[in-house]
């Protein structure tokens, strides 16, 4: 009994409907890499048009760049935490406290490097503390983050005192801003992240652990060590971002760092990375996403959207991207990982 037996599977039989075509494109590696750049270009075009070209004024672009450097530094650092399968939303508060202590130390001594060292040192210390709490006490990192955010903010408010802001000498901040420190620090950090992320054992392990911890442990990877490295890398970034925030406005205030958590998460997903860990992550995602978020924030303000709405719009974009990034619906039930 013989039925059909022609074994031709030539390319001609490829009749895809539109949804499948979209899926093909969506799952293409190159598309995934190009998507964030396309989003950025789109936003620039939209706001360039909507503001009649005002968007391209040097002062506006400079503002966007300053913002993007702060968000991008944090996002690049935090991407280590995300890809390790953890979440941390305390970075805004950490940045605030790092910046405050840095400013206080500088104002007390007038030694410029101390501003940098203290900001970075405090951020590293606080992130290490978050991490220790969750590794040693087996508490989820997000839970730790929620609690410490409150504590760190309270301490910062206390340190800053009644005025709500502390200034630093304008000459110092403009010297740091224009003297190349900012770009050198930023690119140095970025390259460090890139190398650690893609070309070192710990960077790879970190991502693998984020994807499947059991499997990673069977290949000799240790989750405690990776968690520490991810938090310290993030801490270094947040510390640098703290310095950038201070020199941006020549002061630190109780508002420094607020809203940063959301900006960073949005930048991460706009950059094409999953915030749920695993292998689909890039170190440059945070940078390109940060430019997009900064452009979006500025553009929305310029076209006159009230800032309360801006929050909402960003939230909607965030949810839409997270939904698009989740691929669970294409899966066979039999292929699900329980």
């Amino acid at each position: 009994m013989t039925a059909t037996s022609s074994a031709n599977t030539s390319g001609k039989e490829l009749h895809l409907n539109w949804k499948e075509r979209v899926d093909v494109i969506r799952s293409n590696r190159w598309f995934l890499m190009a998507f964030p750049f396309a989003m950025l270009a789109l936003i620039i075009l939209i706001f360039g048009g909507a503001t009649g070209g005002n968007f391209f004024r040097v002062s506006v672009l400079k503002g966007i760049l300053s913002q993007a450097i702060i968000i991008g530094t944090c996002a690049t650092g935090v991407s280590f935490i995300y890809s390790n399968g953890n979440l941390d939303i305390s970075i805004g508060a950490v940045l605030g406290m790092g910046a405050t202590l840095g400013v206080l130390a500088y104002n007390a001594t007038n030694i410029t490097p101390l501003l940098i060292l203290v900001s970075v040192g405090v951020s590293l210390g606080l992130m290490a503390f978050n991490c220790t709490m969750s590794v040693v006490c087996h508490i989820k990192t997000i839970t730790v983050a929620i609690v410490v955010t409150q504590i760190y903010s309270a301490i910062t408010t206390l340190l800053i005192g009644g005025a709500g802001t502390i200034d630093i000498a304008y000459e110092t901040s403009s010297m740091l801003e224009d003297g190349g420190f900012r770009y050198i620090a930023f690119f140095g950090y970025f390259i460090l992240c890139l190398v650690v992320y893609h070309f070192t054992r710990i960077g790879r392990e970190l991502r693998f652990l984020g994807g499947n911890e059991t499997c990673a442990q069977q290949t000799g990877m240790s989750s405690g060590k990776a968690t520490y490295v991810s938090f310290l890398m993030a801490g270094l970034g947040v510390g640098l971002a703290a310095v950038f925030s201070v020199i941006d406005v020549s002061a630190v205030s109780v508002e420094t760092g607020s809203g940063l958590g959301m900006d960073v998460m949005l930048a991460t997903v706009l950059g094409g990375m999953s915030i749920f860990g695993g292998s689909r992550s890039n170190a440059y995602a945070g940078l390109i996403g940060a430019l997009t978020v900064a452009a979006l924030n500025k553009g929305l303000l310029m076209v006159g959207v009230p800032s309360a709405f801006i929050q909402g719009i960003r939230g909607v974009i965030f949810l839409a991207l997270v939904y698009m990034n989740s691929e669970r619906r294409d899966l066979l039930p039999s292929r699900m990982q329980f």
Partner: protein
């Protein structure tokens, strides 16, 4: 008298693509009442895809189906279940953290609803009945599913499936995860169903099993139906040829009788674990392929886990002799030249969302580093070698592992450990779900490792594989070694089975 030979399910001109991958191309076949139809073909030929389409897990890209003479287009599994089509899937189909009873009635809690609450007690009672119906009494439906091993979990799935009295039962690549006792349960159910005028579709890579159990075989290759063969015409060489499209020859298993060295490389000294093992001893020698066989619950899988530091050893120790290290956990084991292929590939041996590349590369970070940095060229060669040697069917190495067929996933697991080049390799059901062609390649690789001076422990449900490959074979029963046999004396399967039960 139940009616037999009537068309129950008809699949007409069905195609399915995943992006540019063509999984099925114009597939036609029928399943008749009273028959056991086997679906056979190489890894990635589309067997799971076509069955899951029938069972409502995913839609076809084009084509039609009919069930009991009416057009059939199920929108989900529940609809298919209600209409009488049940499927036991290839991968884990139970959820670990809910109870066995909840697993059995997943999606149909409604009938136990009493006002706003679910009557758990009634559910457990009903679940017990469902299990008894397939002749299983040793599983407690009130306990969480994670308390049970793979075989028992598969039995839970079978109970779930049979509870709904299906007209068509689909069994996808399940038997190779089961020991003989589990298989017997499935075979009995299959034949009872066929006798009652219902129908069964079974997928397996065990050709002997298929030839024994099935009435007809449908052969698939690259998504195309090659042939339908009736029992009277079954001929293993002909079937193999149809599956792979070329003649398969050469040695399947090794034929030599080379011994092994006296040097002990790994020693378990009176180890006791939380369950299963009590003062268990084992010695593995250099260049030895040591087989461990037995029924699924005999403790052999626990032995593998304990040797690799995955199971808590409450007393005694596992020691790597030449390095004089005690294996306390998997990290120690890995760092000291051991490797372990787990039986639970999806949860333990793969990062499903990562690419084939990243999965295979994960064992080689140290080996592929130059100084503190990973060398991408070395790494690429490391991965490519395995993809080629194991004929992993994929578009490219950057495809996520979760999109691969079951057998191809297993190849990735095997590949990453082959690449690792460990001195001591523990293989738990290494060939589960892989087709005959690749099995032969794996056996060859295992034998090559032995010749290079490695030591291998092979734990398997399949006696022929153990007899074909091992220098020494331990048979286990109730957590203890009940018999030890040597290749040089020759193995006799009847004797081996006697020591198992």
């Amino acid at each position: 008298m139940p009616e037999k030979g009537k068309v129950l399910v008809q699949v007409k001109d069905v195609c399915k693509n995943f992006g540019v991958t063509i999984a099925l191309s114009h597939v036609d076949f029928v399943v008749k009442t009273g028959e056991i139809r086997g679906l056979i073909g190489e890894n990635g030929s589309g067997k799971s895809t076509v069955s899951s389409i029938i069972a409502g897990m995913q839609p076809a890209s084009s084509g039609e189906m009919a069930y009991k003479g009416k057009p059939w287009k199920p929108k989900d599994v529940l609809e298919a279940q209600a209409a009488g089509i049940g499927m036991i899937v290839q991968e884990a189909g139970t959820i670990a953290n809910i109870s066995v009873a909840e697993n059995i009635f997943l999606g149909s809690y409604q009938k136990f609803r009493k006002g706003p609450i679910i009557d758990k007690k009634a559910m457990v009672t009903e679940a017990r009945k469902a299990l008894e119906k397939i002749g299983v009494t040793h599983i407690n439906p009130a306990l969480p599913a994670r308390m049970y091993d793979m075989q028992e979990r598969k039995l839970i799935e079978i109970a779930k499936c049979m509870y709904n009295n299906p007209e068509l039962l689909i069994v996808d690549e399940t038997t190779t995860a089961l020991s003989q006792s589990g298989r017997d349960i499935i075979y009995r159910i299959m034949h009872e169903m066929a006798d009652a005028g219902k129908a069964v579709m079974i997928i397996s890579h065990d050709l002997n099993e298929m030839m024994e159990q099935c009435d007809t075989l449908t052969v698939l290759r690259d998504g195309v139906i090659i042939d339908n063969i009736d029992k009277a015409d079954f001929d293993p060489d002909d079937i193999k040829q149809k599956m792979v499209g070329r003649e398969i020859k050469g040695n399947y298993y090794r034929v030599d009788n080379d011994g092994y060295s006296d040097e002990v490389v790994l020693k378990a000294d009176c180890i006791t674990t939380m369950h299963s093992l009590l003062c268990f001893d084992l010695e593995l020698h250099k260049q030895e392929i040591l087989g461990i066989g037995g029924l699924s619950d005999c403790g052999m899988h626990t032995v593998g886990r304990a040797l690799y530091g995955l199971e808590m050893v409450v007393d005694g120790e596992v020691r790597i002799s030449d390095r004089n290290v005690v294996v306390k956990n998997a990290q120690v084991a890995f760092r000291n030249g051991m490797g372990y292929v787990s039986k639970n590939r999806d949860t333990e041996s793969l990062e499903l969302n990562a690419s084939i590349y990243n999965n295979i590369a994960s064992t080689g970070y140290d080996k592929n580093s130059t100084g503190p940095f990973i060398n991408p060229f070395k790494e690429r060669a490391y991965v490519d070698k395995q993809v080629r040697a194991l004929m992993i069917k994929c578009q490219n190495a950057h495809q996520p592992v979760r999109a691969l067929s079951g057998g191809n996933k297993q190849k990735v697991v095997f590949g990453k450990w082959c690449a690792d080049d460990a001195d001591i390799l523990i293989l738990d059901c290494p060939t589960r779900g892989v087709d005959i062609g690749v099995k032969a390649a794996m056996y060859q690789l295992i034998y090559d490792m032995k010749k290079q001076g490695k030591s291998i422990i092979m734990i398997s449900e399949e006696l022929p594989e153990l007899m074909g490959m091992c220098d020494r074979l331990l048979i286990m029963r109730d957590g203890q070694i009940s018999g030890e046999f040597f290749r040089k004396d020759g193995y006799d399967d009847r004797t081996l089975i006697e020591y198992m039960i």
